[in-house]
Amino acid sequence: MRKGIRNWGPPLLLISPTIILVGIFVYVLIGVNFSTAMTKDSALTASEFVGLQNFTDLLTEPRFLHSLANLGIFTVFFMVGTMLFGFLWAWMLDKGVTAEGAFRSIYLFPMAVSFVASGVVWRWLLSSAQGDRASGLNRLLQSIGLGGLQNDWYNAPGWGMAAMAMPAIWQLAGYVMALFLSGFRGIPEELREAARMDGASEWKLYRHVVFPQLHPVALSALVIVAHMSLKVFDLIMAVTGSVYITEVPATYMWVALTGAEYGKASAIATILLLLVCVFIVPYLIYTARAERKARR
């Protein structure tokens, strides 16, 4: 036992600052946040324990349900869009394209820009003014003879959040492309050649050789995009600010906090955390297991 401590004491000591910091600032604070979520308070009076009431209130509150619906629409369009374009670009670039590096760099460059900076230009592009006053995309549509497609973008009630997914797709499709491209490149050329020698058509080659090899990459991409989507905050704050029409739980939480409704803000944050955990926890366990298996 003593020998054991002598062996693993030093490495544990070396990593202990991180364990303590992450322990406090991730796990303890999540706990504190949850206990705050079970109180009703204002900034000045002592907070009062109310159990899960904040949660039940939220889940019946039209405003919160509206923010959840917005998040759902945004997430579906964001995920489908990034996966579609990311895969399409990677697939086209995979099979020897002149100036492949230039295409890749251009498709990926939005990742280097912040949502806040790109929000400035998307605010302009997605302006809802139409007809003579139209600027942004509506003006562009008019000038290429597609004036009939002009619309209110994110200002449209109902499906407006689908428009908010456009800047997000613009920003992250390149990232998904890079993931898929690394997946394509990870497939041994011998495998493809073997299939070709067996007389497989290009389509069959993809169907039976390439796509199955891409499953892990596709899973990573899906989980990463999904959790980024659920956390979306900067983009919406930069494009519209915290307004009702584009409200999602993350921005609603900001509104609640600035209104000193700590219990409500914490409850929204807890729900958000649970939503993200649905994707992340199985993914982390899956990755840890896969790694252990690979080592054996």
Binding site: P10, P11, F25, V26, V113, V120, V121, M197, A265, I268
Partner: protein, 311 residues
Amino acid sequence: MSEAATMAVTTGIERRNERLNNAPSGNRAKRRLSRTAKYVILLFFVVIVLMPVYVLLVTSLKGPSDVSAITSWRLPSRWPWQAGPDGATGFDNWVTAWNTLAAPIGRTFLLAIPAAIISAMLGSMNGFVLSRWKFPYANVVFTLILFGMFIPYQAIMVPLVQMKTSLGMPSSIVTLLFVHIIYGLPICTLIFRNYYEGVPNELMEASRVDGAGMLGSYWRIILPLSLPGFVVTIIWQFTSAWNDYLFALFLSDANQGPVSLSLVNLSQGAQLSNYGASMAGALIASLPTLLVYIILGKYFIGGLMSGSVKS
């Protein structure tokens, strides 16, 4: 590659070429057509992806008298240094943006550079321990640390804001520096752990045989090999601290905070008719991370890829 494998691949290619050469000429024309179509599609997406950049540049270089909805997609009607009827030039937008953002940009450098270097150093130590010097349940600890990089930071924000208040921390980049170091630890640990997993065992063993302790091996063998890992981590951390808006909004004031806060204020204060200054501001504020991407793109992508957990 073994000789047999080389043979197999070569014959494969020959057979494919045979197939292509024997194909009827209509097929070859079809192939050329599909190749052209591919480039047309690729270039179409280049135009789409670069469109916002065009809008930023063009709008930021238009003086106020040059702004109207009808001409909003056109190039400026005069050179940016030529004054319009109102005496204002296109460059005035850039001057306004620079005057607003220069001080915040300076503060953001003071925040992002130390945050990146300190988290990278801690990450390197952690990565070494978690890949080469494991203790019982090291993999569980690693997964628990990783969890911290995926959480929505809203889930810790209320207690964090309260903590900041009760400790009397300033609403400035000093507080943000601590926060970025702490919440940067998971990703930095991940990058270095994956990186050190790739270091050949023999190197470590040779050094151990020479009588070096684990710390000695880290110092003499691992650390000198770590430069690419450090570049990837520092770029990643620098970019995320530079681009951060969430922590900045919750924990700092615009007049002591980073550039993201000032940029949003500049942009949302703007009327639709005067987007010039905020577009110039967006370009100025993006310049440091864009330059890093252009100059060190390979390492930037390395950081991106490590975000998907598996190396």
